[in-house]
Subunit: 329 residues, 2 copies
């Protein structure tokens, strides 16, 4: 029997991160191809060519190009219907909206079976399979990126809801007198904890502070290139204003985590996304608040842990979902 491979791909706004794993889940290759935000067909066609190079059978074997590929898993930001493969709203992929991802995969990968998932759900599945969620059945994941995404797993199953609208943890309203959110609401977790919100807050603080503080200098110097990484470096050097910005993020995150624990009582809460690389600057204040909010004694000490798989989590999870789907057949 030919070795069976699984492809997991995470469609980002600018690039497609992918992994190829074997039947045991070991990654045998990983790479990235550029995303064409206006064409799913062109993007996945390019991916298929690159994957074929890695795993196609030797010439003259008589086997089809993808005969060694057992299944494809695709992760994508936006509202994804895992059953039908339909992609709804997806701000970073305007040309992909309202298309059917499973159909595009079938066309580009010679009808290989596929599964599709929202990117944070896929990342959660990756952490569950090989990362910070190993050995758990009930998990909550909060991904702090430009915006704030969420994923929920109960009894080993991803929760997608009745209309694929579940796990919008970033838009849990934490305070009706909070800041305006990108979604149009007010006081959502994202309105404090997404990088857009954090950088806005940093610029605001730089303005109201005296002009010669370290924060004000950095904001002026970096301009539009200012990143949460810049801020966390400043905070690590002891800049009080930057520390305060991340402490506020951590406190609001703790509020959201506390609510999630009282609602779902998971084994563990995983914090991922680029902003989470600020580490203890955020996790400290978050962990300080959670036990104060949690009702059930046994759930008070719930582990709130950083994600382990980094930027490849969604690709790894997509491959794992594909592998599970094949196993369930």
């Amino acid at each position: 029997m030919a070795t069976e491979f699984y492809l997991g791909a995470d469609i980002g706004g600018t690039g497609v991160k992918y992994i190829i794993s074997n039947g045991l889940g070991d990654i045998v290759h990983q790479g990235e191809v550029p995303t064409d935000p206006n064409s799913g067909k062109r993007t996945l066609g390019r991916l298929a060519m690159e994957v074929a190079e890695k795993i196609s059978p030797p010439e003259g074997s008589g086997e089809a190009m993808f005969s060694r590929l057992a299944a494809v898993g695709l992760a994508c930001a936006g509202i994804v219907n895992p059953e039908s493969g339909h992609l709804g709203r997806s701000p970073n992929l305007p040309g992909w909206e309202e298309s059917n991802l499973k159909r595009i995969i079938a066309n580009e990968f010679q009808d290989i079976p596929s599964v599709v998932a929202n990117d944070v759900n896929a990342a959660l599945y990756g952490e569950y399979s090989f990362g910070a969620g190993r050995g758990c059945r009930n998990l909550v994941m909060i991904a702090l990126g430009t915006g704030v995404g969420g994923g929920i797993m109960l009894d080993g199953q991803l929760v997608v809801g009745s209309h694929n609208g579940a796990a919008e943890i970033g838009h849990m309203v934490l305070d009706p007198s909070g800041p305006t959110c990108t979604c149009g609401g007010v006081g959502c977790l994202e309105s404090w904890a997404g990088s857009v919100a954090i950088l806005k807050q940093a610029r605001l603080m730089a303005k109201v502070e005296l002009q010669d503080t370290a924060l004000a200098k950095m904001v002026a110097e970096k301009g539009d290139d200012l990143s949460t990484r810049d801020l966390s470096l400043l905070a690590e050097q002891g800049d009080a204003a930057s520390v305060a910005i991340f402490a506020e993020v951590g406190h609001r995150l703790g509020h959201a985590v506390g609510n999630m624990v009282n609602l779902l009582d998971p084994d563990r809460v995983i914090i991922g996304g680029g902003v989470a690389q600020a580490g203890e600057l955020i996790m400290g204040p978050c962990r300080a608040l959670v036990p104060q909010m949690v009702l059930a004694d046994e759930a008070k000490n719930i582990p709130v842990v950083p994600a382990e798989l980094g930027t490849m989590a969604a690709a790894v999870g997509a491959a794992s979902l594909a592998r599970r789907e094949q196993a369930d057949r």
Copy 2:
């Protein structure tokens, strides 16, 4: 084959409501026995005697007393472990805390199989089986009583969490500058929407208002006997202060419902409990807020509906849970 009966019992602080149903779920008898808050054994012993009278086989048949009883379902306020039968914290039943409900049932009902559940979970299961949740697989229930309880069902399964601490919707913190809650937290849904909070608010408004308003008169007249029913009657007569009190409850409830829909995207949200009998006074403001908060287009018009089974919901649900458990064996 003898007809098989199922007993569903809901242990309240003062009384045990129970139903006996047949294998089709039809209620063949319902009743109530007093609760001894200090003894599970005495309470369930009394219940067993009354049930035996209704369903024991004719004398001389040679059958055992409970031979026609297929299973017992027990609903109980507090932290219930459905697997082990252990009852943890349960403020209304001090003498029952840290006891094993399944063991007491086995002792009093001749080792008949049993299931136990938290009372709001059982009520949700009742609404799912025969009430406002019929035909749905994903449900959220919020029960507005003295406090505020919650229940969550996903894919037909009650969500209890990893430590039986899930579905504490009443203690979702909606506003960190909100009122102090009975749990010690601040700004929980319960700190606005439980009857304790509502009556406190009514008394406060009566104090700060001119002394001759209808609300102030009723508060003075009823004293400690003031109920949310009194307030809703006043509101229905057009009293603006009472209308405003319920509108605030409805608005905060809508905030909680909106968060739940963005988190779990259920088919339907069911509002139960005695306070919910204020009807549109609460449901109107609640339904007005929800679509403004919900992100997924298809979930915006989620039905937010009143419970249908009233005070027997938990007993009905407990019997249904017992019947399902038997079917699954």
